[in-house]
Point group: C2
Chain length 428, copies 2
């Protein structure tokens, strides 16, 4: 059988298939499993890539039933029961399956404005995190170098588009960097003058959370100096700024660093699956699976996590539980047992950090904010982080960053600096 993707859905499916009488091929475009909830800490210099992205082969080592392959699944032939894999050696290979678990996640969506991407990268994978890390720290360097006051202000203005968890967490991180962590490290730029602007078209931050927590988060963000602008739509993004629109009219914000955290869509593979099976997709291109997470008419094809259309939030738990459910169904069938109950999501809650010592945790009926929410966040994320060593070094990095001010994982490669230099030259 074949699993597509090494995120929470794919990894937990592979883990749950241990002991099944099946040969499992796990196909992934990266060699690592990404612990996405902490990706923003790579982008802001707290954690290293390795701490949030352990190698799949290392997590699953010793599994003789498992074949891990680096490659991108570009198509599915549901009739022939094969997937088409584009491999880094430049060859395309056809891999047959009897069962297929598709967990290829989501990618960022610019809602048709793909030209925004160059100026406002998003945060979905390690490449993104390293790019954003380089842009953020580079902005402070450039502000320090720049003699012109207006140009310097542009380097010290950061715009976050989208006030979901990623936008809120990145806004909090940049505020912490400018106002606390990097304080006193620059001689010419006054980092206390940095402006962090968080924009969303809806009327509250963290719309997936309970409104009381949204209010708490907004209050804390404002206290940290983040300029929260709600009911505000972004209509254009270019190299040096953002055009926004509110009920009152339009405005331009001059800012060199923009981060897109506004929306996700299913990857192209979802379209291919729909074409091959005739399954319906929703507006974001996600596949409408049945109650057992399979494609109607194709009980051997499961779609789990962000790629499946559902009312469930796009969080790790949904993918993990979906992957596990699909694996158990496959196991049950291999053992000749009758089908089980439909998939039921057990909601363990939803969390977002705002700053050190402040997080919001929405556990259904229980809502936590402030330090209590933050401690909950910390314990739960450490618990789910994979690998004993990653837990220890992460705890160490947290201690230094939260109690102290250290941000040691903040390297830009020379390649990145050069790319930026070329861009800066073009700007003029």
């Amino acid at each position: 059988m074949v699993i597509v993707g090494s995120g929470f859905g794919g990894l937990f499916a592979a883990k749950a298939l241990r002991g099944a009488k099946a040969d499992v091929t796990l196909i992934s475009g990266t060699t690592y499993h990404l612990f996405e909830p902490l990706l923003y800490q790579v982008a802001s210099g707290i954690l290293s890539e390795g701490e949030v992205a352990p190698p799949i082969r290392e997590i699953l080592k010793g599994r003789r039933d498992l074949d891990v392959r680096l490659g991108w699944v570009t198509d599915v032939d549901a009739k022939a029961k094969t997937v088409l894999v584009s491999s880094p050696d430049g060859r395309d290979r056809t891999v047959p399956y009897d069962s297929l678990i598709v967990a290829a996640g989501a990618q960022n969506s610019y809602f048709g404005n793909e030209h925004f991407a160059e100026h406002a990268p998003s945060l979905k994978n390690i490449d993104d995190a390293l790019e954003l890390r380089s842009r953020i720290f580079h902005a402070f360097e450039m502000a320090d170098l720049e003699e012109d006051a207006e140009a310097r202000r542009r380097w010290l203005t950061f715009v976050l588009i989208g006030a979901g968890p990623t936008g809120v967490e990145m806004a909090g991180q940049i505020a912490e960097l400018a106002h606390r962590a990097l304080r006193g490290q620059y001689r010419h730029a006054d980092l206390s003058q940095a402006q962090i602007i968080l924009i969303d078209a809806v009327d509250r931050v963290l719309p997936a959370f309970d409104p009381s927590l949204s209010a708490k988060a907004r209050k804390q963000l404002t206290k940290m100096g983040v300029d929260v602008r709600l009911n505000t739509r972004v209509v254009d993004v270019d190299a040096t700024g953002v055009e926004v629109k509110t009920a009152e009219g339009g405005e331009r914000i001059e800012a060199n660093t923009k981060i897109w955290a506004a929306g996700v869509a299913a990857p192209t593979l979802a379209t291919r699956i729909a074409a091959s099976t005739g399954v319906e997709t929703d507006r974001a291109g996600r596949i409408r699976v049945g109650p057992d997470l399979t494609v109607p008419g194709y009980p051997e094809i499961f779609v789990v996590g962000d790629m499946a259309a559902s009312d469930l939030p796009g969080v790790a738990q949904v993918a993990m539980q979906g992957g596990r459910y699909a694996a158990k169904t496959v196991k049950r069938r291999l053992a000749g047992k009758p089908e089980g109950k439909p998939f039921k999501y057990f909601d363990k809650g939803n969390m977002a950090t705002i700053s050190r010592f402040h997080a919001v945790a929405d556990l259904g009926k229980l809502h936590f904010g402030g330090i209590l929410g933050w401690l909950l966040w910390l314990v739960i994320h450490l618990f789910y982080l994979i690998g004993f060593k990653n837990k220890v070094t992460t705890l160490m990095h947290w201690t230094v960053s939260f109690l102290g001010r250290g941000r040691s994982e903040r390297i830009s490669t020379v390649q990145q600096i050069n790319a930026r230099t070329a861009l800066n030259r073009l700007d003029r």
Copy 2:
């Protein structure tokens, strides 16, 4: 005054200038200080970039006399006492100095065969380490994917050119990866078949060490399965192999992964300084300084570390002591004191690791090999590593990698994989 470079020479000069009545501008092309002796551990997946490359601003924070600037010094006008700085904003700036400490290090030299570089990258900075890390781990992935036996052998053959510390350490690391750390993680490729070939034109490994230690190192390398080929010259390097020549004749080695560790040369800046001051340079382009490390006729220009021509080895200690010496001379002059004694290098010894539990340490009259050499290496490198947190997380990573088999910092970005895919396509 101006310091050029943030390596051991530049950083220790800046540190030693604390309390001097001078405004110090430190100009560096990177935002980090590189702890070069552990760079090979980034290339082999043990340590993260941040652990060996702490931000200069963080190391030197709180120093109000110090101005850290990101930029590349491209020229020196010794008459006008200015340096020309090319900045990442695309502008060139002229910075005046009264004293100048140049510590721009060395870069790799392909001895006129610059076309080797694309196929056999070297290991001098973080960009190199990430590129090599990606190539090494990618080679194992490709070997697992490749069906053709000959092509697979090419992916499992690694050639190290140059048997100094970098070549020896990388050979040891790749042998450890293939034969121990990654064992059992690949289903198709048999990593025990990996060939690691270490080539040098001279007749022993680690020629800067005592011959008894060279012999020990060679014995240990051979025991680990490294094929050590001495008295062997590399005459050509291309995408899929290396041409070598010995007294007996020529041979081609088929290998996709090649690492260049054969020689260093002074950066272009040395030529510019020579042009401006008329100072002599040696064959490697390094500047012939006087006994007080200044350029003859220009007592305000110091050249320290790898950029200065001397009989001293190109190790961290030489640069550290040189940087400190120059800073103290500047301080002495500012205080109106008479000139001090000529620079004298205090040799603390020379070390290289071969594998976990094996290193050689040449402390002048004392020579250590095996586990004793390794323990010495470990304690001394931990001691010199900058920052308490880096010491702790490094110790943690070492524990996991040396006692266990974990190599968790082994990410290739998708950008790197894609670049490799494009190359693979071109190869055919």
